[in-house]
């Protein structure tokens, strides 16, 4: 049969109507319930205690950070109105917003900031403990001023880029004198944000409603936000189509479903609003294997894998070749021109021959075990692609698949792997969660750190210098040097750059308008009728 079917005609007219209705409804409409896909239930919802997208997607609407990122990706004031650093970077002063109240009616003051920073960020919050390790005290000269005092210089740029994720404030009067990890408010958060926590039914849903006393006058627009716990990806896609879910964040649907929904005029599948959550795919080498400790073998492996081919055929337009540990979305620290290892099978074979690994029986030079991380369909696909690519140059690869707990234990604690592949999350500044992949001295068992059995004193020094360099230009130069050095040494390879995908129902407005929108507070988001 030729010509469009009735359904296609219907869909086409729908597509033509979308922009018109968008224009017709340019003025925000108050009310409505935003239903959100919540794929992985978390143990706690308080972002001052756990830095992960699974917590921000809920807790980020109820609690607020000192600063967030604006549309251009620059730090913008939230609970802090302004900030300044002393020239030596040892004291950073935040002027706090006045007239802000917690959801239980108590006023928000500098005491809350002091308590959260000293008791939560410095002691419990993942990545916070490393960031604030040299924080010695938070002084509170008055109720609306907080002075962070550091033992070693803290670059203001680093702190401001880290705080949108690692700077959420919790109420001191709820947590003081309690066992913080067991506090009931961890799953029933009390914050200052646009939405007030109402109910959490484990395995089913979380509800938050409009905060009538929100400090941004006239906001939020939405009456309620409801997170629906849907762990099955196919079921989540069906619920989006049935209108039961309006927004699915962080690439939580199957790639095939997202491709299908992207063609449907009712939905938008986009990287917009996730620029602050860039990640790179990794290939991690275990230097305890003598073959892999040889730089020629590592380079040969990189040369043997056709990254553009893999991206084009498996990941589509949402990924691009990566050039190193700092992704191109990082406008401040991205360094083009570092050493690259393009697809060149002849070079790979030559390097392996030079390293003394001649082809034996069946053309096999040696065998390796590859352990892919279980999160993300792309990692599983990439593992298979690596296996097939390396077979072409005579390296036999056995893929060992494990679940999340098993993967972390096997790779980062037991070091029982040859190759591993997963994601590196870039969190706005290389010092937050990038350089730990390269800095030596991480205790055994710390996930996503240098557990490769590889050290380079020169690279360690650059990392340490950059972490305390207060001059932005010098910092940028140090990270340029860092990227060049690690690309030369190749202790691990980060060949693909991706940004999480959001699937929006097109009724959503002001959605995806900041670089970490899915994690942000959604105070200005509204629903068209």
């Amino acid at each position: 049969m030729s010509g469009p079917t009735r359904r296609e005609v219907f869909l086409m007219t729908g597509a033509a109507m979308v922009p018109m209705s968008a224009i017709a409804q340019a003025t925000p409409r108050r009310g409505g319930i935003l239903t959100v896909h919540f794929a992985t239930e978390q143990r706690i919802l308080n972002p001052s205690l756990q830095a992960s997208t699974g917590v921000y997607i809920v807790g980020g609407k109820i609690q607020e950070p000192l600063v967030d990122l604006d549309a251009a990706g620059n730090p913008s004031p939230v609970l802090a109105e302004s900030w300044e650093s002393t020239p030596d970077g040892r004291a950073i002063t935040f002027k706090l917003r006045q007239g802000v109240t917690w959801h239980d009616g108590r006023p928000f003051t500098s005491a809350d900031v002091q308590f959260t920073a000293m008791e939560m960020w410095k002691k419990i919050l993942n990545y916070g403990t490393a960031l604030q390790q040299f924080l010695t005290a938070v002084d509170t000269p008055d109720a609306h001023t907080a002075v962070f005092r550091y033992e070693r210089p803290m670059p203001l740029g680093l702190l401001l880029r880290a705080l949108p994720d690692l700077g959420y404030i919790s109420p001191k009067h709820i947590y003081e004198g309690t066992d913080i990890r067991q506090n009931p408010a961890n799953t029933a958060p009390i914050g200052t944000g646009p939405f007030k926590f109402v109910q959490y039914e484990r395995g089913q849903f979380i509800i938050a409603e409009r905060n009538p006393n929100y400090w941004r006058q006239g906001f939020p627009y939405l009456d309620r936000v409801v997170w629906r716990v849907v762990s099955d990806r196919a079921a989540a896609a069906a619920q989006m189509e049935a209108g039961q879910i309006l927004f699915s964040p962080y690439s939580s649907l199957a790639l095939a479903d997202m491709t299908r929904l992207a063609r449907d005029p009712r939905f938008e599948v986009t990287t917009r609003g996730n620029e602050g959550n860039a990640r790179t795919n990794t290939l991690e080498f275990n230097f305890r294997r003598p073959e892999l400790a040889d730089i020629r073998v590592r380079k040969a492996i990189a040369h043997a894998i056709n990254i553009p081919f893999f991206i084009e055929n498996f990941l589509g337009t949402y990924a691009k070749p990566g050039t190193g540990p700092i992704p191109s979305v990082s406008t401040d620290y991205y360094t083009p021109g570092s050493p690259q290892y393009g697809f060149d099978r002849a070079a790979a074979n030559r390097l392996l021959d030079e390293a003394g690994h001649r082809r034996g029986a069946g053309g096999v030079r040696f065998s390796l075990r590859l352990t892919p991380a279980p999160w993300g369909e792309d990692i599983a696909l990439f593992a298979t692609f690596i296996q097939q690519s390396l077979a072409e140059v005579g390296i036999r690869v056995e893929v060992v698949r494990l679940d999340a707990a098993g993967f972390l234990r096997t790779v980062y604690n037991d070091h029982n792997f040859d190759l591993a592949s997963g994601w590196h999350q870039y969190r706005s500044d290389p010092a937050v969660s990038t350089t730990v992949w390269y800095r030596s001295g991480s205790p055994q068992g710390a996930p996503w750190t240098n557990q490769w059995g590889w050290t380079d004193a020169g690279i360690d020094r650059v990392i340490d210098d950059a972490a305390t360099e207060v001059d932005p230009a010098k910092r940028r130069a140090l990270y340029g040097e860092f990227v060049t050095r690690v690309q030369n040494e190749l202790p691990l390879w980060m060949p693909i750059e991706q940004i999480f995908l959001s699937t929006f129902n097109r009724r959503m407005r002001n959605a995806g308008n900041t670089p970490r929108w899915a994690s942000s507070s959604w105070y200005d988001t509204w629903l068209a009728s």
Binding site: T35, T40, E41, Q42, R43, I44, Q50, A51, S52, T53, G54, I124, N126, Y127, T129, A130, R181, T187, E201, R202, G203, Q204, F205, I207, R224, V226, R228, V229, V230, S231, D232, A234, A235, A238, Q239, E241, A242, Q244, W375, L402, D403, A404, A405, G406, F407, L408, R409, T410, N413, D414, Q425, S433, S442, P443, Q444, G445, A446, P447, W448, T449
Partner: protein
Amino acid sequence: MKLLLLALRRLAASLPALVLILVGLFLLLQLAPGDTVDALMAQMGGGDAAIAADLRRFYGLDLSVTARLGAYLWRLLTLDLGFSAIYGKPVASVILERLPATLLLMTGALFFAFSFGMALGVIAARRVNRWPDTLISTLGLIFYATPSFWFGLMAIVVFSVYLQWLPAGGFGDVAMGFTGWARVWDTATYLVLPVLTLALIFLAIALRIMRASMLEVQGMDFVRTARAKGLSDMRIVARHVLRNALLPMVTLIGLQAGTMLGGSVVVESVFTLPGLGRLAYESVVQRDLNTLLGIVFVSALLVIAVNFIVDLLYARLDPRITG
């Protein structure tokens, strides 16, 4: 009194098996790489080693395996199921929250599967080798051979996405906040598709067993006697054949109640029902040992209870069998 004694004897006979299962599962999970802190680290997206050590102390994982197993069994003696790592509250209350969805799903599916399975089996046996029999048997084969997740997803695509008759998943409309009968009706609409999906495969089994057992009993001497007595056809089927043919069906219910508890992981995931199956899956992935052992414990008790009821039914259906 006799009934109570019987119940107690049953329970006493099941206790050693229960303890063996719990200890075995505990040890088996020690073999899985990683613990609940590793799972939490994966969820958090990282953290340093000091945090991990701190959390291991918090969850009591710094003790030896034997010490933890001993402590667990000791607590079990006082009917304390322990504390859930992922939910941060007592395991007993976590399970209690999840029990209604699983029980509704299980009883609904069992009821549907066995009532319809019985009816279809009787019809097929009465019209053996004619078109109703062929049709019913073919349908049964299709239901039996199709995986339930596929049925579930197809049901969602047809009834929720295209026709929009029924909700695609969940356990009641969370936004509307229904109470009373409105809530019962609302919950029922959410249960239709999962119950049907879970029931189909068991329906297929039930109808095949029923058909075979009807055919077998129909050929027996006492049926010929009844017919010779001049009893009506209806009466023979209802009073003589059906009652005797039901025994294997009742056995099947006892066996499948247990299977359904476990088998609902798939259906609960596809329809996002907050049941025990999903909880068990989550507990394995997150290495939440206490919750998992608690679920096994409660499921075992449920299976023991169902089998006890089945035994009583036997005695009722066939007076020759006594407890």
